[in-house]
Structure formats: C-alpha cells, structure tokens
Symmetry: C2
Subunit: 212 residues, 2 copies
C-alpha cells in the first residue's frame, strides 16, 4: 500500500486591521517577505486614478465605474466601499484561486471591510487586530510632522479611538510593542490556522487510508 497523499488544505484569508499608527504596514511587509510564495497580498480594484508611483495589477487593478458596478452586480466582489468618492473592492476570483491552490491571502482592510468579508467568507477568514502599545506611543506615531497642530493630532487620535472600538469583532489581538515579536506572533497565528481541521479538506480520505 502506498502512503496516502499529503492532506490538502484551503488557504487562509488573513485580515490585519488596526488604527493608523499601530505599525500594520511594516508588519504586513515583513510577514509577506517571510512567507514569499505562500502568502500574497490581496490586490483591490479601484475607480480612482492611478498615481505615478503605482503599478496596475500590483498596487491596484484600476478600472472604470461601469466595470466596477458590473462587478458589484455580478457578485464578483467579496467586499467593497466608497472613500472620498472613489470605490474600492476585493475581487472574489483572485482570492478563490489562491485559496484553492493552498496559498494564503493577506488583507489590509478596516473593520467595515472585515465585517463584509466575514459575511461572504466566514469559514476562510482569520482576523487579527493590531493595537499600539500605549497612548503616548500612538500619539507619537500620529505626529508625522513637527508642525502638526494639537487639533490635527487630536483628530487623528479620535479617529484611532473610533477604529479601536471594533477590536472585539476580531479573532486575535496583537499588541505591537516590538515589530519582530509582533511579526512572530502573527506568523504563529497563520501557521496555526493552516492546521485547523475545517481547512484540511482531504482529512477524511487520509484517515481512511490510515485505517488500511
């Protein structure tokens, strides 16, 4: 009897959310580097104009409003939102293709996007909320320029506080005190979730083979 084929799994949809200033962008980049070839960033579609530094298909898929509306109508977006008059959405096909090929997909979205994703893809979703280590550190990170007024910083702090109210909709909480430790922690979450039973689609056949 030949050994059973390895257990196949569905990929993980890994959502990282945080208030601005919690260090999520650096964390995402480091995680993608560690898991190159196994974890990929979800590339959104958007109706906004491409900036000179951006590349179509890498930063966004740039599409017009008619095509965007068509994708919404056809259910081709897992979630979408309008921000300052521009629309942004997550194409379903690319994500589904990755998950089926046992690749994991990273999402850098806010709590509203996470709620929408949860509705369309709950069993694939793993959500992590990143918190800053302290009020002072958050304030320091939100003071981007020396000339920022107290009012401007207070406004950013209020927005962060509002975002942080949604921490209790997430599966995991990571306090980003040290970026390497935080990457280790999110990495452990991703590795662990890969062996969740519900994701291991061919366990029944594997166990049947073990029984001889």
């Amino acid at each position: 009897m030949s050994p059973p084929p390895p257990i196949r799994r569905r990929g993980v949809m890994l959502v990282l959310s945080s208030p601005s200033g919690a260090g999520k962008t650096t964390l995402s980049r480091l995680l993608l580097e560690r898991e190159a070839g196994r974890l990929e960033m979800s590339v959104s579609v958007t109706t906004r104009a491409r900036r000179p530094s951006e590349m179509d298909g890498r930063d966004y898929h740039f599409i017009d409003l008619a095509r965007f509306d068509q994708m919404v109508q056809r259910g081709e977006l897992l979630e979408w939102a309008e921000v300052f008059g521009n629309r942004y959405g997550t194409p379903r096909d690319a994500v589904e293709g990755a998950l089926t090929a046992e690749r994991d997909v990273l999402f850098d979205i806010d709590w509203q996007g996470t709620q929408q994703l949860a509705r369309s893809a709950r069993r694939d979703l793993v959500s992590v909320f990143i918190l800053p280590p302290s009020y002072e550190e958050l304030r320091r990170r939100l003071t981007t320029r020396a000339q920022d007024s107290a009012e401007v910083i207070d406004g950013r702090m209020a927005k962060a506080a509002d975002e942080m109210s949604h921490y209790d909709e997430y599966d995991y909480i990571v306090v980003n005190k040290d970026v390497q430790e935080s990457v280790d922690q999110v990495h452990a979450i991703l590795k662990a979730e890969r062996s969740r039973r519900e994701r291991l689609v061919t366990v029944p056949a594997f166990v049947a083979a073990l029984k001889g």
Copy 2:
C-alpha cells in the same frame, strides 16, 4: 499618563490526543522542554497503586477510592474515567490555578476525556489530534517486538483505527511525519491561541487606556 499594564490572559488548556503509535509522548516531552515554566503537564489523580518508578505528585497524585469518590461528588474533577478497574481524573483546582496565573496546561488524554473536558471547560480548551503519516508507519510503530504476532498487531491497528475515528471532534490536526516539524506546528498553535481575543481578559481596560 503611564503606559497601560500589559494585557493579562487566561492560560490555554492544550489537549493532545492520538492513536497509540502516532508519536505523541515524544512530542509532548519536547513541547514541555521548549515551554518550561510556561507550560505544565496536568497531573491526574488515580486510585491505582504507585509503581516503583513513579513519584507521587509528579506522575500522579495517588489517592484512595473514598477520596476519589469525594472529589467526584464535590465536582473537583474536570473529567474522570475508569480503566481496568482503576480510576483516573483531572483535578480542577490545579488547572484553574495555572490558567489564572497565565500558565498553560498540557493534557495527554483520549477522545472520551477530551469530550468531558470540553463540557466543563470549552472556552479554555484547544484540542489537537496527532495522526501518523501512513498506515505502514503506524503498523511499524505498533510492532514493538519482533515476536509480536500478526493478530496482536492487527488488534492494535483496530484500536488505533477506532481512536482515529474521532479526529473530527478536534480543533487542529497535525500529521506527525517529522517530530521537529510537528513540535514546531503544535508550538505555533499554542503561541497563536495565547493571543485569541476571548483569552485576553484585560483588553477592554487596555483599549480604554489607549483612547486616553
């Protein structure tokens, strides 16, 4: 404003189950070594006689039947079972003390014990089922002596098959092909579960402090 105190968490009750021959004992030992001081083995009470190699309080707490019955009556056991006329049980106090002190507790129990634990401690429980890599490897590991008859080995294989039927009651599945990889995987599961939101008992206060 002083930085908020670190988030306190409840410990994890980590259950490892497997058919005999899957390599769980070695895996448990290596995990306990890696996490010395943070992860401890649950020490059961038992009514059976102490063997010369065993130490009271390390291998088991050896108690008489009257005391065992008293513990059952008082709800002092998280789970218990009778095996070959002897009783074995998990004392609630020791586990609760560890969890409250942010230490994790490892349980080497079968599917029946796991079902009982799940009833009394579902939210603290994380269960991992260890599978052998193949039928041949399992049979090889269950052939402990050259003189084992085919009937004896078939009997062990049948018992293993029966145990493996319960894989689908567990949170995670780990195929133990390489012991170091498997320890890494179970370790990742433990690390990840430490940052599950439900376990982080002081997140609300921490987030309140972040909001200033």
